[in-house]
């Protein structure tokens, strides 16, 4: 990796998100995205990974709000932008791909229209020019007969095809960052492979950074350059993918890796993390993982700070796993 790639283009610090009723969904999250890299944001459901990304684009649901923190991008704090200025970032500099593409596309507008309108909004293209570009994009994302499909509607496409359309839409204005929120969760494995491949290829080709939100460690391992692991609203470990996967220091990361059966080898007995993820209402003081952690100690009742190792490998644990 070149030096240029190490310059973060987005850095999020001290992000705190609260939902109605004073529920803190995200607490003290810091991470950065570097140019051209794929950052994997992993965690189980409810860990706050989607909310974190939505907050960057001002897309939190009505009952949620950012209480603290900043997200510096292109010299401005995304979290303090008003709707109008945010609209200049959305879709143009930071694009968003959601899961379940079929529902995320407007059922009564043609595919072509939906791709073209981003370019018309941000790049001032007229309809015919935007259409022409849309054909190119559809062709690029592997939609067969793109000029014909321009006039199709989302319900006429399969989930995989719609996800390709979403990708085309996201890439329309050549954004610096694409946030992909579980882009393949609803898809079959063979299609998932196609989509991931496509995304990686295009990002590489254009130097786009990708924030890949997923619960699937396999996807992270295969796609991401760096990974951030979240648990119950906190970032517990982050770093280069090889560091985190081969040398996990946080017991949660380790447990997560061990509890997943592998396709490439036979496993006799899976290691499990006992217990349940605590609900936001019953969050323990200090480290949220402590109730399930075998190495928990009294001091875990205070939230540990982040310990930083080589190559930006960080973890938040009083009693880390030994280095491999």
């Amino acid at each position: 990796m070149t030096a240029a790639e190490h310059i973060p283009i987005l850095s999020v610090t001290g992000l705190e998100i609260e939902f109605a009723g004073g529920l803190r969904a995200v607490r003290g999250v810091d991470f950065s995205v570097r140019q051209g890299e794929v950052l994997g944001l992993v965690g189980e459901s409810g860990c706050g990974k989607s909310v974190t990304c939505l907050s960057l684009l001002g897309l939190l649901p009505a009952n949620g709000r950012v209480v603290e923190g900043s997200a510096m991008f292109d010299g401005q704090d995304l979290l303090s932008l008003d709707e109008k200025r945010l609209n200049r970032v959305r879709g143009r500099q930071i694009a968003y791909i959601s899961q379940n593409s079929t529902q995320a596309l407007n059922p009564i507008l043609t595919i072509g229209r939906q791709i073209a309108e981003t370019m018309m909004t941000h790049q001032g293209l007229d309809l015919s020019e935007a259409r022409r570009r849309a054909v190119e994009l559809l062709d690029r994302v592997g939609v067969p007969q793109p000029s014909k499909r321009l006039r199709a509607f989302p319900h006429q496409f399969s989930g995989g095809m719609n996800q390709r359309v979403m990708i085309a839409m996201a890439l329309a204005c050549d954004p610096a960052i694409v946030i992909a929120d579980e882009p393949t969760t609803a898809l079959d494995v063979t299609i998932q492979a196609q989509i991931l491949e496509l995304l990686a290829e295009i990002a590489r080709e254009r130097g786009t950074s990708v924030v890949m939100i997923t619960h699937d460690l396999g996807i992270v391992a295969e796609m991401a350059d760096r990974v951030a692991v979240m648990y119950a609203g906190r970032l517990v470990e982050s770093g280069e993918v090889t560091d985190v996967f081969h040398n996990p220091r946080h017991p949660y990361t380790r447990g997560l890796l061990a509890s997943r059966p592998r396709i490439d080898r036979r496993i006799e007995t899976l290691t499990t993390i006992e217990g349940q993820v605590p609900s936001l209402r019953e969050m323990p003081p200090g480290c949220p993982f402590s109730p399930r952690c075998e190495g928990a100690e009294p001091r875990c009742a205070n939230m540990p700070g982040h310990t930083e190792l080589d190559r930006g490998h960080r973890y938040a644990c009083w009693n880390p796993e030994p280095a491999a």
Partner: protein
């Protein structure tokens, strides 16, 4: 294959669907969801049924459960055709075969306490006194890790893993021989998946259960199943003992499937062999091999003539014109 100790056997089972008539005006279109499938499950074994959406694996599960009648072929329970069971035998079959579905919450009645739901199986079969039923239900729940406190809750007050444990408790309370598990862990978080998989293994060991394990997740299937059949568009394309299948996948589809799954190890990063194209419309399949439209190796023969499932001496069966190796029985 020794059919003597098989609990249940599907013989040439097929099922075509007419999309449900919404009124007398709407059309009926037949779609072949399952085509000529034969599988047998032995006592105490876990039989995996793998495939992507549209592969007919859930339909096959429901047919085996006796909840859906096959349009072709038959299902044999201890050698007796399900269709021919008298009411008493049928009730017996109902008790001996249970099912676990994918979405644990959807699997439970949202307006009933979980204890009542687990007990209901006993209520239906009018087993023992109400007090005994309650005691047995609590005991069963305890055996899957749900304490009495949780047992008094409503499903939505439990976590996903706990819900699935309740579902499992309900499935095993009647001491079944076979449990059909339709994607039992795919809705669960990774850390919880492992708990449930281990629970299923433990129960199998303790109770001598057989599982028909339906899943799209090859890693999970590899972990838990003894024998696996791979389905594509309602047809078995390959069937083998688990390790044989993963060691030497013979059908191009099986191979692609296995290689599509990302591995959680950056060191194992490999060039993925991406399967091109999407599922063809099952309503208008070409005459030949169903997989031919996406198979990079397909020949003219593949497109013209459907391959038969051929089993070799190790019990490794595959339906592909390109895999006609020596020692394969005709």
């Amino acid at each position: 294959m020794t059919e003597g100790n098989e609990l249940i056997r599907a013989e040439g089972v097929g099922r075509s669907f007419a999309s449900r008539r919404t009124s007398m005006w709407s059309a009926t279109e037949a779609v072949q969801a399952v085509v000529d499938v034969s599988i047998g499950i032995r006592r105490g074994e876990t039989f995996g049924l793998v495939g992507e959406s549209g592969s007919g694996k859930s339909t096959l599960g429901r047919i085996m459960l006796g909840m859906m009648k096959p349009t072709q072929g038959r299902v044999l329970w201890h050698g007796t055709d399900l269709a021919g069971l008298d009411p008493a035998e049928r009730a017996g079959f109902r008790r001996r075969v249970q099912m676990i579905f994918q979405d644990p919450l959807g699997n439970l009645d949202p307006r009933m306490r979980v204890l009542a739901q687990v007990r209901e199986a006993l209520d239906i079969h009018a087993e023992g006194t109400p007090e005994e039923r309650k005691r047995k239900a609590l005991a069963t729940l305890a055996s899957v890790g749900i304490d009495e406190n949780l047992a008094q809750r409503y499903p939505h007050q439990l976590s996903g893993g706990q819900q699935q444990r309740v579902v499992i408790a309900r499935a095993i309370i009647l001491d079944p021989d076979l449990v059909i598990c339709d994607e039992p862990v795919s809705a669960l978080d990774v850390s919880v998946q492992a708990q449930v998989l281990n629970l299923l293994s433990r129960l199998q060991a303790e109770l001598g259960l057989a599982y028909l394990f339906i899943s799209h997740d090859l890693a999970v299937v590899r972990y838990i199943c003894h024998r696996i059949a791979v389905l594509y568009l309602g047809r078995i394309v390959e069937e083998a003992e688990t390790e044989a299948l993963f060691a030497e996948p013979r059908h191009p589809y099986t191979r692609a499937l296995i290689r599509s799954v990302p591995v959680a190890d950056p060191a194992a990063r490999r060039k993925r062999e991406v399967l091109q194209g999407e599922l063809p419309d099952p309503g208008s399949l070409p005459p030949g091999c169903a997989f031919a439209t996406r198979c990079s190796l397909a020949t003219d023969r593949c497109r013209a003539e459907a391959p038969a499932l051929q089993t070799d001496s190790d019990g490794h069966a595959v339906a592909c014109h390109l895999v006609e190796t020596a020692g394969t029985r005709a």
